[in-house]
C-alpha cells in the first residue's frame, strides 16, 4: 500500500491518458493495468469540435484523477492551469509539469520549483515532474511537494531508466514517495525502477502506443507488482568488488 498525502493506493502503477486510439480503449487499458491514479491534461474547449469525453469512462472506472499542467511554459501559466484544473475536476491533486522546450519536453527546474512553492501554499497536493536531479528533488520536497516525479528518460522516448544512477540517489535521499515518470518503455523498465526502490511509476506511451494496449496494461501491472515484491523480499545483490592484494587485518592476529 502506498500513501501519498490523503490517499492510499494498492497499485503502484499510475497511468496517463494520452495517445490512445479512442477513450474506450483508454479506459479498458487503464482498468486492465489496475491503475488507481490517472493523469490528464486540460485544454481550451473547441466549441465547434468537441474532444472525446475522457472523464465519464474514468469516473466509471473509479480511478483517482491527477490533472496535469502540460502546456504551461512557466510558473505563472502552471499556477493558472492548476486552478483551472481544480475547478474543472474538483480535486486539489496536481501533476505539475512545465516544459517550455517543445522538442524534447524537458521539464524546467526553475519554473517548476517556483510554481510548486506557490501551489503548495494555495493548498494543492503537488506531484512535480522534474529531471532526475537529486538536489532539485530535495528542494521540491522542502517546499512541500507530496512526492517527486523524476524522469527515467525523455517523455515518449521509451528508453527506460537512462537516469538510473541519479534515481538511485534520489530514492536514497528522499523523505517523500518517489514516482518514476517518463521514459518507461517496457514492463522490464518498470520492474527495474521498483526493484531499485521507487515507490511507484507512471506509464503512458508504452501502454497507449502498444499494438495491444489492454494486454500491455496488464503486463505493466504484473511487472510493477513483481518489481515491488522483489524489492521487499531483499534482493541478493551482485559481487561488485574484486577481492585483491595483501591482507589488511593480519595485524590483529599479532595482538591479543
Amino acid at each position: 500500500m502506498l500513501t501519498i498525502a490523503d490517499k492510499t493506493f494498492s497499485s503502484r502503477l499510475y497511468t496517463g491518458t494520452g495517445k490512445y486510439a479512442n477513450s474506450q480503449t483508454m479506459a479498458e487499458s487503464i482498468i486492465a493495468s489496475g491503475s488507481e491514479l490517472v493523469t490528464m491534461a486540460l485544454k481550451r474547449v473547441d466549441i465547434d469540435n468537441r474532444d472525446d469525453d475522457i472523464l465519464a469512462p474514468l469516473l466509471a472506472a473509479g480511478v483517482n484523477l491527477l490533472p496535469n499542467t502540460s502546456g504551461a511554459k512557466n510558473a505563472k501559466e502552471a499556477v493558472f492551469a492548476a486552478k483551472l484544473a481544480r475547478e474543472a475536476l474538483g480535486t486539489n491533486w496536481l501533476k505539475l509539469e512545465i516544459h517550455p522546450d517543445p522538442k524534447y519536453l524537458m521539464p524546467d527546474p526553475i519554473e517548476t520549483l517556483a510554481a510548486a512553492e506557490e501551489l503548495v501554499r494555495e493548498g494543492f497536493i503537488v506531484l512535480p515532474y522534474c529531471h532526475a536531479d537529486p538536489v532539485l528533488c530535495k528542494r521540491l520536497e522542502e517546499v512541500g511537494c507530496a512526492a517527486v516525479m523524476p524522469l527515467g528518460a525523455p517523455i515518449g522516448s521509451n528508453k527506460g531508466l537512462a537516469s538510473r544512477d541519479f534515481l538511485e540517489i534520489i530514492i536514497d535521499q528522499a523523505r517523500v514517495p518517489v514516482i518514476v515518470d517518463a521514459g518507461i518503455g517496457a514492463p522490464s523498465h518498470a520492474a527495474e525502477a521498483m526493484e531499485m526502490g521507487a515507490d511507484a511509476v507512471l506509464v503512458n506511451t508504452a501502454i497507449a502506443a502498444a499494438a495491444d494496449p489492454l494486454a500491455m496494461g496488464k503486463a505493466f501491472k504484473l511487472a510493477v507488482e513483481s518489481g515491488r515484491m522483489a524489492y521487499e523480499a531483499g534482493l541478493a545483490g551482485t559481487v561488485n568488488h574484486a577481492i585483491a592484494s595483501s591482507p589488511l587485518t593480519a595485524f590483529l592476529d599479532q595482538t591479543t
Binding site: 530535495k138 538511485e168 536514497d172 535521499q173 528522499a174 523523505r175 531483499g234 534482493l235 541478493a236 545483490g237 551482485t238 559481487v239 561488485n240 568488488h241 577481492i243 585483491a244 592484494s245 591482507p247 589488511l248 587485518t249 595485524f251 590483529l252 595482538t255 591479543t256
Partner: protein
C-alpha cells in the same frame, strides 16, 4: 520533529536480538550489495560477520580510497577548561573528582594557539567541560573568534547549546560541533549521568537537529563504547546518521568511536570491545555510508592507529593533550582521559606518510564560505 521521535520508536532489546540473529547469509548479502541499509549494518556489526573481517576491510578500504583518495585530515583538540557542573561516572572532569580546575583566559588561549600552530595544525577542536555560568556563551563569544583568527577550521565539543546560540557562533567562525550521546539507552544513560544538565537525555539527543537547523557545516556523533552493549549502541549511531542525512541533507557528518579509557575515577566498561571488533565497526560504518567522515583519536595505540588508518579512517588527531594549557605547559594530573598514542604530530604524520597517505592539514571545503 527531531531524532528523538525516531529514537522513541526504536526498541533497544528488539534491536539487540535482531543484531544477534543475523546469519552468515545476511552478512554475505550485505557484502554483495552496493547500497546498504540499516539491516545490512546490523549484519555487518553482528558476531556472524566476524569471519568476514578481511573481506569487509578490503571493501571498506576500496570505498574510502574511491571517495577520499589517499588522504587523512589532521586535527588537534584544544582544551579550554575542565570546569564542570556534571557528574559523569566515566570522565576525569566529573565535578565529583578532586582535580585542579582551570579555565584558560585570552592570553593563555593565545599561547596555546601559538604552540599548536608550531605543530602545523590548521584544524582545531575546542573542548570544555560543562559549566554554563563560567564557561558559557559569554566565554565562547570571546574564545571562538580568537581561535578562528589563527586557524582555518574550528570545531567545538562543549555542552549542548540552543539553536540560536549555534547560529550566533557560526557567524563568529564555528564550523563543526561534536556531540556524543555517550549511550542511546536512556536507562543506562541515567546511571552514568548523576548530576547537572547533562542528565537531560532528550535535550542532548536533539542537539544534532538544532545544529543542522542552525546551519553548522559538520556534525559529529557517536557513542562512548563500553557504557552499554556496543553493537546495539553503534546501531543507534548508524540510525542517527541515517536520519540526519535524510533530513538535513546539506550538512556533513562525522562519526567517532571512542572506547572507554581509564581515567581518574576508574569505571569498568559494561561491554568490552576488542581490537578486531573495532576494526569490524569501522568497516561496517564505511560499508554502510561511503561518505561519512570517520575519525580516530589518540585514545587508541600507535600500532592500532597505523594499521587501521587505511581501512576507512579519514580524520585523526595527533600529539593531543587532554588538559587545559597542555600545549604551552604540561601538567599531567589535569587530563580528561589518558591517551594511548603519545607520539608527536610530526611522528604521526611521518607514520601516515609511510603507509602511503598524505596528511591534509587544511580543509579546503570552505573555499567560498570564508
Amino acid at each position: 520533529m527531531s531524532y528523538v521521535d525516531v529514537w522513541k520508536q526504536l526498541e533497544w532489546d528488539d534491536i539487540r536480538l535482531s543484531i544477534y540473529s543475523k546469519t552468515a547469509t545476511d552478512v554475505e548479502r550485505a557484502l554483495r550489495k552496493s547500497k546498504r541499509d540499516l539491516e545490512d549494518f546490523k549484519a555487518l556489526i553482528s558476531p556472524a560477520a566476524e569471519p568476514y573481517l578481511e573481506q569487509m576491510a578490503q571493501q571498506s578500504a576500496a570505498l574510502t580510497r574511491k571517495r577520499f583518495g589517499h588522504t587523512i585530515s589532521f586535527y588537534v583538540p584544544l582544551y579550554l577548561s575542565n570546569l564542570c557542573a556534571n557528574a559523569c561516572t566515566y570522565c576525569g572532569f566529573s565535578m565529583e573528582n578532586r582535580i585542579k580546575r582551570r579555565t584558560l583566559n585570552t592570553q593563555e588561549i593565545t599561547r596555546e594557539c601559538q604552540a599548536i600552530k608550531a605543530m602545523n595544525f590548521d584544524s582545531v577542536l575546542l573542548v570544555t567541560g560543562e559549566h554554563e555560568r563560567k564557561v558559557g556563551m559569554a566565554y565562547f563569544r570571546q574564545a571562538v573568534p580568537a581561535v578562528k583568527e589563527q586557524f582555518s577550521y574550528l570545531a567545538m565539543e562543549v555542552q549542548p547549546l540552543g539553536q540560536d546560540e549555534y547560529a550566533e557562533l557560526k557567524t563568529l567562525g564555528l564550523d563543526a560541533v561534536m556531540v556524543y550521546q555517550e549511550t542511546y539507552s536512556a536507562s543506562t544513560y541515567a546511571e552514568h549521568h548523576l548530576r547537572g544538565n547533562k542528565m537531560d537525555f532528550e535535550y542532548r539527543l536533539e542537539t544534532p537537529d538544532r545544529l543542522a537547523k542552525a546551519g553548522i557545516d559538520k556534525i559529529g556523533i557517536g557513542a562512548l563504547i563500553g557504557l552499554e552493549e556496543w553493537r546495539t549502541d553503534c546501531f543507534y549511531v548508524a540510525s542517527h546518521l541515517d536520519y540526519l542525512e535524510r533530513t538535513y541533507w546539506q550538512t556533513r557528518y562525522s562519526i567517532s568511536f571512542p572506547r572507554l579509557r581509564p581515567c581518574e575515577g576508574g569505571l569498568q566498561p559494561k561491554s568490552v570491545m576488542n581490537d578486531r571488533q573495532l576494526v569490524q565497526l569501522i568497516c561496517a560504518y564505511r560499508l554502510f555510508n561511503p561518505e561519512v567522515e570517520l575519525s580516530l583519536s589518540t585514545r587508541e595505540s600507535p600500532q592500532f592507529r597505523d594499521n587501521a588508518l587505511p581501512l576507512g579512517i579519514t580524520s585523526m588527531s595527533a600529539g593531543s593533550k587532554t588538559q587545559p594549557g597542555g600545549y604551552a605547559d604540561d601538567e599531567p594530573e589535569l587530563e580528561q582521559f589518558s591517551i594511548s598514542d603519545e607520539r608527536s604530530a610530526v611522528a604521526v604524520a611521518e607514520a601516515v606518510k609511510q603507509h602511503g597517505f598524505e596528511v591534509v592539514w587544511k580543509d579546503w571545503h570552505h573555499a567560498y564560505s570564508g
